[in-house]
Amino acid sequence: MHIPDGILPAQVCAAGYAVTGVATWYSLRQINRRPDPAAEVPKASLLTAAFFVASSIYIPVPPASVHLILNGLLGVVLGYFAFPAILIGLFFQALVIGHGGLTTLGVNATMMGVPALLAYHIFQTRNILGKMLPEPTRTGVFAFLGGSLGLGIAALIFLALIVFNIPAELNAGAEQAAVLTLSVGHIPLAIVEGVFTAMLVLFLRRVKPELLEG
C-alpha cells in the first residue's frame, strides 16, 4: 500500500512532506512534555526495528497470504512515538528495498502515521467509552478497532490519492470499478489486521502489560 516514486505530482509530494513535518512536530512536542523523554528513546527505537522486521511476517489468508501493515498496532503500543517510528520505518524501506519512495516518503508517512495516532487515541479511550465491557474483552475490542481502523483509514487515504491523481484519460466507469474493487478488497484485510492486533494486544496484556502503557 506504499505509493512509489513517479506516480504523484511534485505538488502532492511536497504537501505530504508538509503534513509529515507538522505531524512530526506535534508528536515530538507531546513526547518532550513527558518527564524523561530520553528514557523512552531506546524502547521506541528497538520496537521500531521490531515492527519493521515483523511487517515481513506473512499471514495465510487463503488463497494467498498477506503481510500486515501494523500501523494501528504501532499506535496502540508506541503512542506518540508511532509517527516518528513509521517515518523511520518507511525511510528504511525506501532506501533499503526500494519499497515506497523518497519523494513520496511524506505522503506515505501521512497515510500510515496519522491513522496510527488515531488508533492510539481510540485505544486510550477504552477506559472511558468501554466501561460497560469487562476485561479482557474491553482491551480486545478497542485493540481490534485500533488495528482495523488504522489500516482502514490508511486505505481510504491511499484510494483518495489514487483517485485524484490517476491519468485523466481513464474513463469514469473503469475508475469507479477499480476504486470499488480496491475498497471492497481492503475490508477483509482491515478485519484480519484488527483480529491480529487484538490477539497480539491480549497476549501482551497477559505477558508484558507495561508495553501497552503507550
Binding site: V41, A54, V96, G101, M199, L200, L204
Partner: protein
C-alpha cells in the same frame, strides 16, 4: 539486508563518492523533486539520461542497480501491463477484446520514466554514502535529535532483530509449524494466534533488550549532555569539484522545471 549489500560499494572511488554528503543530499533531493514535476513525455529521455550519467559517474556496477530493481520492478510490470490496455480511447493495435491505447502508452512511459530516474538517484545516494554519514548530513541539515537518535538505534538493532526473528521462525518450523493442511478460502484461527504470539514475543524480546541498552547508554552519559554545546569540528574547505557538481545538478534540476513549465 539491503543496506549491508550497498555498503560493499561505498569505499569505491568516484566523484560522487567524494561529493560532500550534505551537498549530495540537497542536490540529489532537489533533482528527485524536479523529476517528479515532469509531465511531458519529451522530457523523459533527458531525465533518464541525467540519472544514467550520474550513475555512470558514481562507478557503481550495473548489477547493483539490477539487483535492487528486482523488488520495485513488480510495480513497473503492473503499470506496463495495466495502463496501455485500460487508459485512453485512441486504439493503436487490437487483438480481439484487447486494445493497446496511445494515451495509456504515454502515461506508462511517463510514470515508468519518472519512477526509474528517481529510484536510480536514491540508489546512487545509498550506494555512495555510508548510512551513518547520510544520517550525520541529515542531522546537520536540522533533523531533530530525537529522530536522529531513533534512526541510529533502529538501524543498529535492525539486523539483530531480523536474525532473532529468523531463529524463532526456524524453531517454529522445527516444531511442526506450517505443516498442517490449509483449508481453501478459510483463515486458520490457530495459525493466526501462533503468528500473533510470534510477533508479540519479538516485541517483548526487543523491549527487554532496549532496557539493557538504555542502562548501558545512561552509564555512558546519554540524556545528561543535552545542554552542552557540541565541540566545534575543524572542517576542510570543500573542493572545486564539489561545488561544480552541485552547481551542475542544481542547474539541471532548474532546467527540467523550466522546460516543463514551457512545454506545459
Amino acid at each position: 539486508m539491503g543496506v549491508a549489500s550497498a555498503n560493499t560499494y561505498i569505499h569505491r572511488e568516484s566523484v560522487i563518492h567524494d561529493w560532500s554528503p550534505r551537498l549530495k543530499l540537497i542536490s540529489l533531493g532537489l533533482l528527485m523533486f524536479a523529476f517528479a514535476t515532469v509531465q511531458q513525455l519529451a522530457l523523459v529521455p533527458w531525465m533518464l539520461g541525467l540519472a544514467a550519467l550520474l550513475y555512470g559517474l558514481s562507478r557503481l556496477p550495473v548489477s547493483f542497480l539490477r539487483q535492487r530493481l528486482s523488488y520495485p520492478g513488480l510495480f513497473i510490470l503492473a503499470v506496463v501491463l495495466l495502463l496501455p490496455l485500460t487508459v485512453g480511447e485512441t486504439v493503436v493495435a487490437q487483438w480481439g477484446w484487447l486494445a493497446l491505447r496511445e494515451e495509456g502508452l504515454r502515461a506508462t512511459g511517463l510514470i515508468v520514466g519518472r519512477f526509474l530516474s528517481i529510484l536510480t538517484l536514491g540508489f546512487i545516494l545509498l550506494g555512495t554514502t555510508p548510512f551513518l554519514t547520510l544520517l550525520g548530513a541529515m542531522r546537520s541539515l536540522g533533523l531533530p535529535t530525537l529522530l536522529a537518535d531513533m534512526t541510529l538505534l533502529s538501524y543498529r538493532y535492525l539486523f539483530e532483530i531480523a536474525a532473532m526473528l529468523a531463529t524463532m521462525q526456524q524453531a517454529m518450523r522445527l516444531r511442526g509449524f506450517g505443516h498442517s493442511h490449509q483449508r481453501w478460502l478459510r483463515v486458520n484461527r490457530h495459525t493466526m494466534q501462533q503468528l500473533a504470539m510470534l510477533t508479540g514475543n519479538l516485541l517483548i524480546r526487543s523491549y527487554e533488550q532496549s532496557e539493557r541498552v538504555y542502562k548501558a547508554m545512561r552509564l555512558r552519559g546519554y540524556g545528561q549532555s543535552r545542554q552542552v554545546a557540541p565541540t566545534p569540528t575543524i572542517t576542510s574547505p570543500l573542493s572545486l569539484h564539489n561545488w561544480a557538481l552541485t552547481g551542475a545538478v542544481l542547474v539541471a534540476a532548474a532546467g527540467l522545471v523550466l522546460a516543463e513549465m514551457r512545454l506545459a
